[in-house]
Amino acid sequence: MCRGFPDVFRRRFPPWTEIVSVFSFVSLLVYGRMFFVFAQKLPSWLMYLSLGRIASILSYALAGALFESLGYALLLALACALLPARWFRNEFIARSLWGFTTWMASLNLFFNRLSANGLESGLQELDLLPAWLAVTTLLVLAAFVFARAGLLKRVALWFADRSLVFLYIFLPASLLGLLAVAVRNIV
């Protein structure tokens, strides 16, 4: 049984290269959101924080974004291993990309709505959360279903291929961030 495990593992999980492609796309959206909010916050931070302090915040954020991206990629790979191959594994890149894009877009819209009129009224709108989760789940499922359609699949593969290059920026930056966090907390 133990000898057979790696084979089962290989058979159920998507190929390594596809996981990396999905990870790179997931990273693009996660880091993209992080950098977007960073750019929004930067002008106010410059009013009262030193550059060193801002760099230390960025270190934590880069490390956090790495773990968040890894978490999402792992979740997708695990889902792929658990679901029948024809549901997910055979179209792993296309379905992961469209599913994840739908999830992130919906989350973005949700937080935009919450923050539109300030925290006070935003929190009152939290009653919408269960309904939003239900609608988002349906949308993600729809994205999964339609992702194998010709054009959508081609677009997904194109993005997956091109987002790989960003890993050359994100990974070293995150490793530096992790190092900075470790040093700040150990020294």
């Binding site: 960073f38 009013m47 009262y48 924080l49 230390s56 915040i57 956090g64 925290l119 966090v181």
Partner: protein
């Protein structure tokens, strides 16, 4: 044997957190018998957002503070005491450094003390002869206290004495780097009480789910839910009984102590205990109508402001009741035999001119006028001080009472009644400069100056409201309805010149840089 309820378990957990921290201090078993010439101890209790204008102790027509009125019979009551800033960060920084915000430069919501001032604080000035401890569950105050941790013997965990959290806060894991990790997680990656635009959408979603779950849980005894600060939930009684226990424990040691306790109530949300839910409903409180201010940020209708004030006053009454219990607990433990108890606030709260809350440029009296009540060891008579005083005065006054040298750079003075002189010509300031860089001279700011019976507000740098003044005679016009800046132009001009002279002096280091 009765089963332990969840509340019992939470109380025990809170006590254990505090107790574990206190175990690191060398505590004796008997109450300290202080020598006659031994320096006194101090407890500074800061109640966030408590406006002097909403306390019946200081003349408010609603009976919001019957307990404080009774306690005042053995205290010194300051009737014209002012905060350094109009929200937590500048207000607390002034309390802890004895400097005005234009000097300590911590005047942004998530601002931090510059390195040059971080080591010049009350804890450092008192020195190692004192056991110096602090507690707050206010996140903005906590980040400032964490900066001062090298000068503290004990910074109690901010989750001590609270009921629960919405979601685990990652910055609590990075205890060696609290300020940076706090800013990274709390102000950036997570959703927080001041931002619902998290950099990490997953963490933000977890926050929202946690918040919603917490809101939907029953809160026995609290019809509007437990008091909270978005991420943690607490009861005032648990906080104050926990802190009374801490004070009692630390007072047993040989060394004198200085304790800074900063509690959120009566900060919003105004969620009082059942008994205080609507004590002032339909009480016919008559308030003058005030015009909306052009710089009001929230644009609230008068009826909404009246309703918010009703909730706030009820919460103030709840806080007042719990202060009475705190005082009784300290007396029972004989802590007050050798300890000064100082009760104040970091800023007030505003419900007028279209504005609500406190992160506001409208430095009207309810926002900047805060209570100061001091009970000296053994004091059994009431004293009233009507001269203008400032929260910047606490540091030099405490240092003087502790027999310490007062650093000449401090902007505060000794409080009258506690060693200070009665100077009727003295001016005290409150500074709002959230739109101004902390590293540049103050070009966009609002400064309130209280001198004798008058208060001047000077606005500069605001488009359409630049170089504007408002002047009020608070004795004749406590509601600040008649602006005297034109009618008494010579006085307004004199006060403005004095204000600008002080501001220029504080700006000098930054003018050279720029």
């Amino acid at each position: 044997m009765p089963a332990l309820s969840r509340r019992d378990i939470l109380k025990v957990s809170g006590a254990l957190l505090g107790g574990a921290a206190l175990a690191s201090l060398p505590l004796g078993r008997q109450p300290r018998r202080a020598a006659a010439d031994a320096p006194p101890s101090f407890i500074v209790l800061v109640l966030d957002s408590l406006s002097a204008r909403n306390l019946s102790l200081l003349g408010y027509s609603r009976p919001t503070s019957p307990i404080l009125e009774r306690l005042a019979d053995q205290c010194t009551v300051y009737h014209n005491h002012y905060a350094g800033g109009s929200f937590t960060t500048p207000g607390v920084s002034t309390l802890l450094t004895g400097l005005y915000p234009w000097t300590h430069r911590t005047f942004h919501l998530r601002g931090m003390l510059p390195e040059a001032f971080a080591r010049q604080n009350i804890f450092a000035f008192l020195g190692r002869e004192y056991t110096r401890l602090a507690y707050t569950h206010n996140q903005l105050a906590y980040i400032l206290l964490s900066q001062l941790e090298p000068d503290l013997d004990l910074l109690l965990n901010r989750n001590s004495f609270v009921l629960r959290q919405n979601t685990p806060m990652p910055e609590d894991a990075f205890t060696n780097d609290i300020p940076a990790s706090f800013l990274a997680f709390n102000d950036f990656m997570h959703a927080s009480e001041s931002s619902v635009s998290p950099a990490s959408l997953s963490l933000g979603l977890a926050d929202m789910l946690g918040f919603q779950r917490a809101q939907s849980r029953p809160a026995p005894g609290y019809p509007r839910g437990y008091p909270s600060n978005f991420q943690t939930y607490f009861k005032i009684e648990d906080l104050l009984s926990g802190l009374a226990g801490v004070s009692s424990d630390v007072s047993r040691q040989a060394a004198p102590f200085f304790a800074y306790f900063h509690l959120l109530p009566p900060h919003a949300p105004y969620n009082p205990y059942r008994k205080f839910i609507d004590p002032f409903l339909n009480d016919g409180l008559a308030l003058p109508s005030k015009p909306e201010h052009p710089l009001a940020m929230l644009d609230k209708a008068p009826d909404k402001l009246l309703r918010l004030r009703l909730f706030y006053d009820a919460f103030v009454a709840n806080v007042d009741y719990e202060i009475g219990r705190f005082f009784a607990a300290l007396q029972a433990a004989r802590v007050l035999e050798h300890t000064y108890l100082i009760i104040t606030s970091d800023h007030g709260e505003l419900f007028e001119r279209g504005e609500y809350g406190h992160v506001s440029p409208l430095l009207y009296d309810p926002l900047v006028h805060v209570p100061l009540i001091v009970r000296a060891p053994g004091q059994n008579e009431r004293r009233d001080v009507y001269l203008p005083t400032s929260n910047a005065d606490l540091v030099p006054t405490i240092l003087s009472l502790a027999g310490r040298e007062i650093p000449p750079a401090l902007e505060g003075r000794l409080l009258p009644g506690l060693g200070g002189i009665e100077d009727t010509g003295r001016s005290v300031y409150t500074v709002y400069a959230m739109e101004n860089s902390a590293f540049l001279p103050l070009n966009t700011s609002i400064v309130s100056m209280r001198k004798d019976r008058h208060r001047l507000m000077y606005y500069r740098g605001y488009p359409g409201y630049n170089d504007r003044m408002e002047l009020y005679d608070l004795e004749q016009d406590p509601e600040e309805l008649r602006d005297l800046s034109t009618a008494d132009a010579p006085l307004a001009k004199r006060m403005k010149e004095e204000l600008l002279e002080s501001a220029r002096a504080a700006d000098a280091p930054y003018r050279r840089k720029s």
